[in-house]
């Protein structure tokens, strides 16, 4: 269970999150929708522990642990996975090397044995095939020269390999055509389980046609201004965010 209480954060002294309250029990999928600049990406980065974001108040606990007290890699090992809106190109680091290092770091922290090169390759090939990630993409440098769709599929592959228990999807639908959106969403849906919580951050409703949320929250002006069932997403699609941006200002 993820429990966020009155979370406040600033960037360069500018207040972005103004008291977020959110509880996601294991097994549930929650969506956060909101206009640009409402603090959606900031929330995902604060939860993942990115430098440059100052938490000025409130708390965030995951499975009883104080997330904010952990560094980025410790959170990842605890099971937090941030799927990036813009996955970073890393020239020179091959996919296989990166994925194996990450998987073994997470396995070690769970007290599991590390996979050797052959075991890992076998696993990576299997998962890659399921997500339509070509084998040559595993040999290439991480995200380097990948299309938008390839990058998002690669994020889904990392999820499948790392088996996180808390998924945060930061505008995963941006820059995706319908086919790619479908493949990536199916990858995410395949990971739905009673033990796994998900937070889907999005501007548009369309990804929620594939990843059906249990709850939908509207983030505007750094606060959650409305929560509801999945129908709220469809309603927002019709009415837009203007009512909330007015309210927040």
């Amino acid at each position: 269970m993820l429990e966020i209480k009155n979370l406040q954060a600033t960037i360069d002294g500018k207040e972005i999150l103004k008291g977020i309250d959110l509880v996601i029990p294991d097994g549930e999928v929650h969506a956060i929708m909101g206009p640009n600049g409402s603090g959606k990406s900031t929330l995902s980065y604060v939860l993942a522990g990115r430098d440059g974001y100052q938490v000025t108040g409130g708390s965030a606990h995951y499975r009883g642990q104080d997330l904010l007290a952990l560094n980025t890699e410790e959170r990842a090992r605890l099971g937090v996975f941030l799927a990036f809106q813009y996955p970073v190109e890393i020239p020179g680091v091959t996919g296989i090397n990166f994925l194996k290092t990450a998987v073994n770091a997470v396995r070690r922290s769970r007290g599991e044995s590390e996979l050797d090169a052959m075991q890992f390759l076998k696993l990576a090939r299997k998962k890659a095939k399921e997500l339509g990630v070509g084998e040559e993409m595993l040999r290439r440098a991480v995200n380097t020269g990948f299309s938008g769709g390839e990058k998002k599929r690669y994020e889904a592959l990392q999820m499948a390999l790392l088996e996180p228990s808390l998924l945060i999807l930061d505008e995963t639908d941006s820059g995706l055509d319908i086919d790619a959106l479908k493949v990536v969403s199916e990858g995410v849906v395949a990971l739905r389980s009673p033990k796994r919580a998900m937070l889907v951050i999005t501007h548009y409703q369309r990804i929620l046609d594939y990843i059906i949320p249990d709850r939908v929250h509207v983030l505007a002006g750094g606060k959650i201004v409305q929560s509801g069932s999945k129908e709220l997403a469809q309603e927002l699609e019709r009415t837009g965010y203007a009512q909330f941006t007015g309210q927040a200002a």
């Binding site: 522990g49 890699e73 990166f98 990450a102």
Partner: protein, 410 residues
């Protein structure tokens, strides 16, 4: 001393000319534009005595030859060469050549201060490698220069002339290593005839107490291709200078360099490309990692003469500074006299990419390992261009060894 007595008249005269010039012009120093960032003039190494022929050299630094044709120089003296060379390849020592080999010394600066002049005055076993026209060598030729100064410091001046016949294809691996305090001042002259193709892989992994200067001058005829990978990791002070002359239409020159420096190390990569013929290409990419109080220098000049229309020339220097005390001097220069050319240059000096670091850490990789991955990748990418598996592995291993020191001291 001994070789000078028995050397042919042409060689004695060449040496005398060089000695006279050395005496009248002297060596370059900080006041010379090309040596502004790398001041060797005041180094005490210039006073190191010439090395004697070593009695029983220690060859542990020399790798197993595998399928390569391996030539080993110790302190500038030819120590070993295979009894049988591959078909189409011949090897002569300069002092055994009755006539002056074609173009010997012609590519080197003919006036002014130059370490090449010092080399001409003082080299011991100069080597001439000839590769006959249309020879296609399957395995690399490997030239290993070992410096050995177990006692007092020594100086030596390795010398190579490589002549590639028309349409010949070969790989030359050059490795510099050693132990103790020594000064190595090497000169290589490479002649690439029409349509010949040379891959040249250089690993400068000298002792950390050594000073290393090297000049590689090359002449490229029509349609010839030269592709170099240069890795510099050793030496307390080192400079590798490339001087290619693109003389024939459609010749292509490419160099990719990687270097890793720490402590007070100083590593200089200087390239001066001369485009003389139309339709030629030149490409230079240098990537370095500078830790602690080390210093890197990149000087890349491209001269495009009026005759060299349709030239395509690019140069790029990227340096990663891991410490506030590290310093990088990058000086790219273009001098263009033709009007229909594509030329570009760039230089970046920076820190580790924070976005990439966060991305790796967000996948559970600890900060230290993530930094190592990014630093290794930055320079290892250069070595990936080496086609020969065992050579690539050896160069990567040398880089990894030096990079591991950075991590230990970080």
């Amino acid at each position: 001393m001994s070789s000078a007595l028995s050397s042919p008249a042409w060689l004695q005269s060449l040496r005398q000319t060089a000695r006279d010039r050395l005496e009248s012009d002297g060596l370059p120093g900080r006041r010379d534009e090309a040596w502004k960032y790398t001041d060797v003039g005041r180094l005490e190494v210039m006073a190191y005595p010439l090395a004697e022929r070593p009695g029983s050299p220690d060859l542990t630094a020399a790798p197993a030859s595998g399928e390569r044709t391996q030539l080993i120089l110790v302190n500038g003296f030819l120590h070993s060469a295979p009894a049988q060379l591959p078909a189409g390849v011949s090897l002569t020592r300069l002092q055994d050549a009755q006539e002056v080999p074609a173009l010997l010394g012609r590519l080197l600066p003919e006036q002014g201060k130059s370490f090449a002049t010092m080399n001409s005055a003082l080299f011991e076993d100069g080597l001439v490698l000839q590769i006959e026209a249309h020879t296609d060598l399957e395995h690399p030729i490997e030239l290993i220069s070992l410096g050995q100064a177990d006692g007092p410091p020594v100086a030596f001046h390795p010398r190579l002339l490589l002549v590639m016949g028309k349409g010949a294809r070969a790989t030359l691996v050059e490795r510099h290593a050693g132990q103790g305090q020594y000064f190595s001042n090497s000169v290589a002259e490479l002649l690439l005839a029409e349509d010949s193709c040379l891959s040249h892989y250089v690993l400068q992994d000298e002792a950390m107490t050594a000073v290393h200067l090297a000049l590689t001058a090359l002449r490229q005829d029509r349609g010839s291709r030269y592709q170099a990978v240069l890795v510099q990791t050793g030496g307390r002070l080192s400079r590798h200078e490339m001087l290619p002359f693109l003389e024939g239409e459609g010749a292509s020159f490419s160099i990719e360099g990687a270097y890793v420096a720490r402590d007070q190390q100083h590593i200089d990569n200087t390239t001066f490309v001369v485009h003389r013929a139309p339709g030629c290409q030149s490409q230079q990419v240098f990537k370095g990692v500078l830790a602690e109080a080390s210093r890197g220098v990149f000087q890349g000049s491209v001269l495009v003469e009026r005759t060299a229309q349709k030239t395509n020339a690019h140069q790029l220097s990227k340096a990663l500074l891991l410490s506030d005390r590290a310093e990088m001097d990058a000086k790219p220069e273009l001098e263009i006299y033709a009007d229909d050319v594509k030329c570009g240059h760039g230089a970046t000096i920076g820190d580790i990419d924070e976005n990439a670091l966060f991305y790796l850490r967000a996948r559970g990789i600890d900060d230290k390992t993530a930094r190592q991955l990014l630093i290794n990748a930055f320079v290892a990418e250069v070595v990936e261009s080496i086609a020969d598996d065992s050579v690539r592995a050896a160069f990567l291993a040398a880089l990894a060894q030096h990079l591991s020191h950075l991590e230990a001291t970080a």
